[in-house]
């Protein structure tokens, strides 16, 4: 009750023109930062930190948190319209969002990604407000063994990703895992496949690799087809926007994904991207037409966007309760708080509870503002799908180069992007699906490092010694085996 009063008071204090404008500005900046492939949510927040020096600390926090919230949605815009995820966590959004857009259903994809982000954001914030204390304790119970098993659970989703080509998607996933071995070994510091090149010490930068694999390879495929002359511009007819009833039908997908996103977001070593893969897989299993995932299923977009936005609330749980950032962006937020002489952690609740309530209230308000701005903005963004391919593809190419460069201002990353573009194109030509490869690169390091940590701590059987880890492994085994058994049965019947 006291909490509710505090929250209402805080919300009331934010109802002035200045705070509301500040939140709105944060949302706009966040959407833009998310949508630009070279600017990650964490960089978007970091770039804005200097602007907050002169602000009241609580307003600074409100502003920066709004950016964080909106950046996870922003990433979906380019994922849907040009198959170039603006943030790593929007990769899965592109799996179905882009095919929808190509079919002339960009309105649906953009609408679903916005509404799902809104729902996910709201669920994440509510969980943060209500259960952050107990959840923080759970986060601490997650040892390396559990992280490894979570990564295995994530990897088991390739069983349902493969469709017809189980072998090819397995090969693709293994390639992804192998790519992760490049760089300095994170446990002992041994160089692996770096050939003394400093740029390779940390392996490949994620964003250039992703843009290359997804966006550039698509451009190369289209250039190879070279049928631009016959193209009828897909979006030329009036864009169709979904009705409320349409969203209502997706409510369960959004809710499930929101819960998964929040939970996975709480663990500092996991993150939004893994949450999107798991939610996507769950939706596929709940669906009556799983084979259509990847061809343009609104459920896929809803799952990805709800879970990555929900992870924002999740990632703030350990930050506020333990002083441990749950994500790279939460780490930047913590740094910003420290610059303002505020020490993030549980004492913040005691020392300045009004600040915490303000943060909660502003996230809730910001989420609504994001919905409104997003609805207006979608009318603009959809125009991208009306651009003819001859013009759009060179633009995507340029965008990919700039985005790759912007991550570290490094030409090396541009080369990485081009290299992976070619690699992705070759894989596509020979029918190897790319999503398992991306999944492998997302999970490879997490799986390797945590397995090694677990074994160093507790010996070779470490992952079977902890109940949480065993439970996750059992779920992973089932999730891997069931689709294969089902496929086998279906074949017998046929």
């Amino acid at each position: 009750m006291q909490g509710l009063i505090g929250l209402l008071k805080a919300a009331g204090s934010l109802m002035g023109l200045q705070p509301l404008l500040l939140i709105a500005a944060g949302i706009v900046v966040g959407i833009m930062a998310g949508a630009m492939p070279g600017v990650s949510p964490s960089m978007g927040v970091a770039l804005m930190v200097p602007f907050t020096y002169a602000m009241d600390p609580s307003l600074a926090l409100v502003y920066l948190a709004a950016i964080y919230l909106a950046a996870n949605y922003g990433g979906s815009i380019t994922a849907v319209t040009i198959n170039t995820p603006g943030t790593p966590s929007a990769v899965v959004t592109a799996f179905d969002g882009y095919p929808l857009a190509r079919k002339g259903r960009a309105g649906e994809a953009l609408g679903v990604s916005l509404v799902a982000s809104f729902v996910g954001g709201a669920v994440g914030i509510l969980v943060l407000m209500l259960f952050s204390g107990p959840l923080a304790k759970v986060a601490l119970k997650f040892w390396p063994a559990e992280y490894f098993s979570l990564a295995v659970l994530g990897l088991s989703t390739i069983a349902s990703m493969g469709g017809q080509n189980a072998l090819k998607s397995a090969i693709s996933a293994v390639l992804g895992l192998l790519i992760c071995t490049i760089g300095m070994d994170p446990v002992l510091g041994v160089s692996r496949f770096t050939f003394g090149n400093v740029n390779l010490f940390d392996g490949f930068e994620f964003i250039p690799m992703l843009i290359g694999l997804l966006a550039l390879s698509e451009v190369f495929v289209e250039v190879e087809k070279f049928d631009f002359a016959s193209e009828s511009v897909a979006g030329a007819e009036k864009a169709k926007w979904p009705s409320l009833g349409y969203y209502w039908k997706l409510r369960l997908s959004m809710l499930r994904a929101s819960v998964i996103g929040t939970i996975v977001g709480i663990f500092p070593g996991a993150g939004a991207t893994i949450a999107t893969f798991i939610s996507y897989d769950v939706e596929k299993r709940f669906s009556s037409t799983p084979e259509e995932f990847g061809q343009g299923m609104p459920e896929g977009v809803a799952a990805a966007e709800a879970s990555n936005s929900a992870s924002v609330g999740g990632a703030l749980v350990p930050m506020l309760t333990l002083g441990i950032p749950g994500s790279a962006t939460a780490a930047v937020l913590m740094g910003a708080l420290m610059i303002h002489n505020l020490q993030p952690g549980p004492e913040l609740f005691v020392k300045s509870p009004e600040l915490i309530y303000k943060l909660f209230a502003s996230l809730l308000i910001g989420n609504v503002i994001m919905l409104i701005l997003g609805l207006a903005g979608s009318r603009l963004w959809i125009n991208v799908t009306r651009v003819r391919k001859q013009i759009l593809f060179p633009l995507i190419f340029a965008f990919a180069m700039i985005g790759s460069y912007a991550v570290n201002s490094s030409m090396w990353d541009v080369m990485v992007c081009l290299g992976f573009g070619m690699f992705g194109w070759i894989l596509k030509r020979y029918g190897y699906p790319l999503p398992p490869l991306v999944l492998g690169t997302v999970l490879g390091e997490m799986a390797e490092v945590n397995l090694r940590r677990a074994v160093m701590m507790a010996g070779p059987t470490a992952i079977f010694q902890r109940p949480g880890s065993v439970a996750l492994l059992v779920v992973a085994a089932l999730s891997f085996a069931i689709p294969i058994i089902q496929a086998g049965k279906a074949r017998q019947r046929a």
Binding site: M43, A46, A328, V332, Q343, E347
Partner: protein, 324 residues
């Protein structure tokens, strides 16, 4: 575009060009004539990132120079160093290192001549004492208990911290060496993640700096490297009190370095600015609250610290088999 507009535009362009020339000529007299970039080796939100951003904020009281903070993270600092070494030595690109990058050069077997002595270590900003942090909720929350537990476990005791071969790992080796114990170092992606592991009871000790316990009430400083107790942490004993000698001045420094060959006036300008900032009350209180000693050492003194770090790293990493 009509003719009139073209004329207005060309006049405007000409005016801008002339202005540039004039300001260029004027700039020869005084450093800096253009924005100065500070290159961080950590991602946004990292320790040195927060430090440099705070520095530019405070420095704006004393200079009109424009600072741009850039993050070029990767390979524990080598990427950032490589970048700065590739820029002209004109003082407009400053590298923002900590002890960690020097140690990283040694542990990765990279060229000391290139990465360490390719720089002039111009300004040391602060000394942050190294310490051992334990978990209040575990039975091993005091150093005595940790040492006893280590002997009982015979090398199986777990210490958590950031990267293998980093400065905190080096500090752990020094402590093990002095205390005659052995333990395992389990590295995590970042300090906070390792602290989460300590809070979750995965290990018994974390090596870091006193400020790491701020905002994390479960953690406590159980031994600190300082000749006397820190006034911000009066309950934390020094290593000497605990019977470990030779660990009274183990610190993590933060500072600024420029590429060797940078004009002396640019270096002097930076050092002067650092001195002003070091005396600024806001800057001082920000760091002193974290038990960090604010300094403004210049090249000679800073270089002595760098040399000591190099020697320590080479010695202990050989002893513990990190390098050959």
């Amino acid at each position: 575009m009509n003719n009139n507009r073209v004329r207005v535009l060309s006049v405007a362009v000409a005016a801008v060009l002339v202005l540039c020339l004039v300001s260029g000529a004027a700039a020869k007299d005084a450093f800096p004539a253009k924005p100065i970039r500070i290159i961080n080796y950590v991602a946004p939100g990292g320790l040195m990132d927060v430090t440099t951003r705070k520095f530019t904020d405070v420095a704006s009281k004393y200079t009109k120079a424009v600072f741009v903070v850039e993050n070029r993270s990767g390979a524990g600092g080598l990427v950032g160093m490589e970048y700065v070494l590739g820029q002209p030595a004109d003082g407009y690109t400053i590298f923002a290192p900590t002890t960690s990058v020097v140690i990283q050069v040694v542990s990765t077997n990279s060229s000391v001549d290139k990465y360490v002595w390719g720089f002039e270590w111009a300004s040391m900003l602060m000394k942050d004492p190294e310490c051992i942090i334990s978990n209040r909720k575990l039975p091993t929350s005091d150093w005595v208990d940790i040492a006893r537990d280590a002997k009982a476990k015979g090398g199986k005791q777990i210490w958590v911290g950031p990267s293998t071969g980093g400065n905190d790992h080096l500090m752990a080796m020094k402590v093990w060496d002095r205390a005659g114990i052995s333990a395992m170092w389990i590295p995590f992606e970042s300090g906070p993640k390792a602290m989460a592991a300590l809070m979750g009871g995965q290990g018994v000790a974390y090596v870091g700096n006193p400020a790491d316990t701020m905002g994390r009430p479960d953690l406590k400083v159980c031994a600190v490297s300082s000749d006397k107790r820190l006034k911000q942490y009066p309950d934390a004993p020094t290593f000497r009190e605990l019977g470990l000698t030779g660990l009274d001045d183990e610190i993590m420094w933060r500072g600024f370095a420029v590429k060797k060959g940078t004009p002396p006036e640019a270096v002097a300008w930076l050092q002067e600015l650092v001195e002003k900032v070091a005396n600024d009350p806001e800057w001082k209180s920000f760091f002193e609250e974290q038990a960090i000693e604010v300094v403004a050492y210049k090249t000679d003194e800073f270089t002595r610290f760098v040399k000591k770090d190099l020697e320590d790293a080479q010695r202990y990493f050989k002893q513990f088999g990190i390098i050959k």
